[in-house]
């Protein structure tokens, strides 16, 4: 039996197929395999970090600092690569994840121990981390020729036609699908978002889970930081500015409830993919990049409003059904 949430993701999937179809009618090159690969590559990083954001929104919080963490981690490893090119790549990747975990755990501590509301915590750490990017690079760039070839080429290198970047994204998707639906800790994340008191009654440690969610999100973001600066072959203090909103948009469009307690990895993947398609299509029809922010904002508002209306309608329908059964 198809229960409502799964139905929503399925409907969304059909909706996306429809959109792709409509766009390809106007611009046949949209369906090109190369273009499709471009979309996947462009969306890979967004998908990963959006999954991190998903965990946090499900607990009832929000992480506005992901773009700053990403930039800080990216800049750190870029600088490392620039000054110590002999460091092997997998160490660089490990370092990026570690820095990410650290930055995320600071958020986690502030939210769980100091009990500071997530909006404020991450607003604060966003500024601190972003400022630190500036400090460590002293206002300069790390550009392509200052990075080693291994570093730059990593996301692009492909195996069986699929880039490393996409592989990593798929890995993260699978890992967190398993974590969030098939492990006790993963389900506890949904528990505290759904009903804090009930969660305590069943022995869920609120502090531990909150801390974990932010730290894990940090870890993913750290990895994404490396991938970002490698892919765009540049690291600067403005890297990824505004990216935090894209991750939130991907979540909201993917059906994650902003009040917490519900939302799925598949939904977020579809949401990120949808945003990727929209951007790609807009670029194809020559819409200037200056439209991105406005469209993003519109998408967020639209998705939230539609979700809210649909939820209310569902509730009404259920009430109607119940009263007819009596």
């Amino acid at each position: 039996m198809l229960v409502l949430p799964k139905k929503r993701e399925f409907n969304f999937f059909i909706f996306i197929i429809l959109i792709i179809f409509i766009i390809s009618l106007r611009t046949p090159s949209f369906l090109d395999l190369n273009n499709f690969m471009d979309i996947l590559n462009d969306t890979a990083i967004l998908t990963m970090v959006a999954i991190g954001q998903l965990m946090i929104i499900v607990t009832g919080g929000i992480d506005l600092s992901v773009d700053a963490s990403l930039a800080l981690t990216g800049m750190s490893v870029a600088l490392l690569n620039q000054h110590y090119p002999e460091i092997p790549l997998f160490i660089i990747i490990l370092i990026s994840i570690t820095i990410g975990l650290l930055l995320g755990s600071i958020n986690g501590l502030l939210v769980s121990q100091a009990k500071i509301p997530p909006v404020i915590t991450t607003l604060g750490t966003m500024s601190i981390y972003r400022g630190l990017v500036f400090v460590i690079c002293k206002g300069t760039w790390v550009s392509a020729h200052e990075m080693t070839e291994a570093f730059r080429e990593f996301p692009r290198r492909s195996f069986l036609g699929i880039s490393n970047l996409i592989f990593i994204a798929i890995l993260i998707i699978v890992l967190f699908l398993i974590f969030l639906s098939l492990t006790k800790t993963g389900r506890e994340i949904y528990g505290i978002g759904g009903n804090k008191t009930a969660a305590q009654y069943v022995g869920i440690n609120l502090n531990k889970i909150n801390y974990l969610a932010y730290t894990l999100c940090g870890g993913i973001t750290g990895l994404a930081g490396f991938l970002w600066v490698a892919r765009y072959a540049a690291a600067q203090s403005e890297t990824a500015i505004g990216f935090n909103f894209q991750t939130i948009a991907a979540c909201v469009v993917g059906g994650v409830s902003i009040t917490g307690g519900s939302g799925t990895v598949i939904g977020v993947v579809l949401g990120a993919f949808f945003i990727g398609i929209v951007y790609n299509a807009l670029t194809m029809i020559n819409v200037s990049p200056f439209w991105q922010m406005a469209i993003q904002g519109f998408i967020i508002l639209f998705a939230i409003i539609i979700n809210t209306i649909m939820d209310k309608r569902n509730q009404q329908l259920l009430l109607r059904k119940r009263s007819f059964n009596e």
Binding site: V3, G203, S323
Partner: protein, 499 residues
């Protein structure tokens, strides 16, 4: 064979200076169904929450299975073999029935350590079948009705294979069929040598199902014994401490014109075709089990929720009330069920609370008139006998009874013509209860029309001129005072309609 599995001795519990339990003793044996009896606010839930690990006692000992224990958290209590169904829903609305039942003790796949949803779903289905519930295990709990949620809670408690099962007011939201199932389940648990602690303030049910009883009153242990050795009257005496007859003030029989008329009021999913009339000076009692829909009806009349169809007439004129402010303009006042969440603003002081509903009237061109504020608070505060060290005191620091008085003062200050009171004496000490009842009677004498929603049979019988009984969103019967008695009211409340 029979074996004392739990003994609680000398339990004391304080909350912010309020004594919830003062030296309470409690014992239960395996295979025993033990009723914990007392009025609202007697301390039953508190005692049981201590057992369930939700609260820690300030003093006293717990001996479980002949060992001295401390249940520092709900999980520890659960692991020891105690399963509790609390009054408040402790469910996760966004999660499925399966997940709600198994959260905290998931079943894992033995080979890879991951959660085994198939196994959990099958077990859930089996459990639901055993309880003869027509619910799909994947349904999100938020999509279940109140009664269904309660049954899922019961299923959850059963899934834990506990030694002691605690049920805190389990029948309050159930239909008559479901209550029968519950009794069947309890009897089965008994035959499996489990101990069942059954909390209720409804004397009628207890005689049906319990072997033993313990009575609490105002946080104190009053007595215990075998159900077979005692009569209903004796238990009632222990519970309320004095004779039923003397509790209620004289209710006048004279009533004036019809001031409120409700015709075919319907709100889909909550109540259907509610029609009644209310007269000046009348006290109209609304009785029913929790979930019967009375609060929903009142909140719809008061404009907090919208109606689907139906009409409301005030003084003969049809009205469309869209929000509480409009309701107030028509002379309506509503004292809500939950005084902490809906009735008062805990972090504001008494003056601010009492004047909140009439705030526009105590201002001069939008400016607050602090003198008038004080005057009004003093006037009504003294009339209702609010006991506080000063009017600046924050409402959160008052006792439950005084908090309720603040709510009362606030609404009486609006000089209403129709006063709707939703469980006004719930969780209040006996002395304050008497004060509130006297006030209600005084107001009725002044010609104010009163609707009294209550789940307490003695209160309804003692205070009302007329009684309307609701069940599952509909009115089953209307009684006049002389025709009403506990038996026929209960029957109407659990669904059998009398002509």
């Amino acid at each position: 064979m029979n074996n004392c599995i739990l003994e609680m001795k000398g339990i004391r519990k304080y909350f912010y200076g309020v004594k919830a339990l003062e030296g309470v003793d409690f014992k239960i044996k395996t295979g025993e169904v033990h009723a914990l009896i007392g009025e609202n606010g007697a301390g039953k839930s508190t005692l049981v929450k201590i057992l369930a690990g939700v609260y820690q006692p300030n003093a006293g000992t717990l001996i479980f299975n002949h060992k001295s224990v401390q249940f520092l958290s709900p999980q520890i209590s659960q692991q020891a073999g105690i399963s509790a169904i609390h009054q408040e829903a402790t469910m996760f609305p966004e999660l499925s029935v399966t997940e709600n039942i198994f959260i905290g003790h998931h079943i894992r796949n033995k080979s890879n350590g991951l959660l085994s949803w198939k196994e959990m779903k099958d077990k859930t289905q089996a459990l639901l079948n055993k309880l003869e519930l027509d619910i799909h295990p994947d349904t999100k709990v938020k999509n279940l009705s109140v009664a269904q949620r309660h049954m899922v809670e019961i299923a959850k408690a059963l899934s834990l294979n506990a030694k002691i099962v605690i049920m805190d007011e389990p029948t309050s939201a159930l239909t008559i069929k479901e209550v029968e199932y519950l009794y069947k389940i309890i009897r089965k648990l008994k035959s499996e040598n489990k101990a069942v602690i059954f909390i209720s303030h409804k004397f009628e049910e207890i005689f049906e199902i319990a072997d033993y009883f313990t009575v609490l009153r105002d946080g104190k242990y009053i007595g215990e014994g075998k159900m077979a050795d005692v009569t209903m009257d004796e238990i009632i005496q222990m519970v309320i401490g004095r004779n039923l007859e003397h509790r209620y003030p004289q209710i006048e029989a004279e009533q004036g014109n019809t001031i409120l008329k409700v015709k075919n009021l319907t709100r889909i999913g909550f109540f259907k075709d509610i029609s009644f009339e209310l007269h000046q000076g009348e006290i109209l009692g609304f009785f029913g089990l929790v979930g019967a829909g009375r609060t929903e009806v009142m909140q719809t009349i008061f404009g907090i929720e919208a109606l689907t169809s139906g009409e409301v007439f005030i003084n003969g004129k049809k009205v469309n009330i869209a929000n509480p402010a409009e309701a107030m303009n028509y002379g309506l006042a509503y004292i809500p069920e939950d005084r902490q969440l809906q009735g008062t603003i805990l972090k504001m002081n008494i003056k601010e609370n009492v004047t909140l509903s009439i705030i526009n009237k105590i201002s001069r061109h939008f400016f607050l008139d602090k003198e008038k504020e004080l005057k009004i608070t003093e006037q009504y505060g003294k009339q209702i006998e609010i006991k506080a060290s000063s009017w600046q005191q924050l409402v959160e620091n008052l006792s439950g009874g005084n908090q309720q008085k603040v709510v009362l003062a606030k609404w009486i200050a609006t000089k209403p013509r129709i006063l709707i009171m939703d469980e006004p004496t719930k969780g209040i000490d006996v002395a304050t209860k008497a004060t509130v009842h006297n006030i209600i009677s005084e107001l009725a004498k002044q010609g104010i029309a009163i609707i009294l929603v209550s789940s307490e049979l003695p209160e309804i019988l003692g205070m009302s001129n007329n009684i309307i009984v609701m069940h599952e969103g509909a009115i089953t019967t209307k009684f006049t005072r002389d025709k009403a008695n506990s038996e026929n009211i209960i029957k109407a409340a659990i669904g059998s309609i009398l002509s």
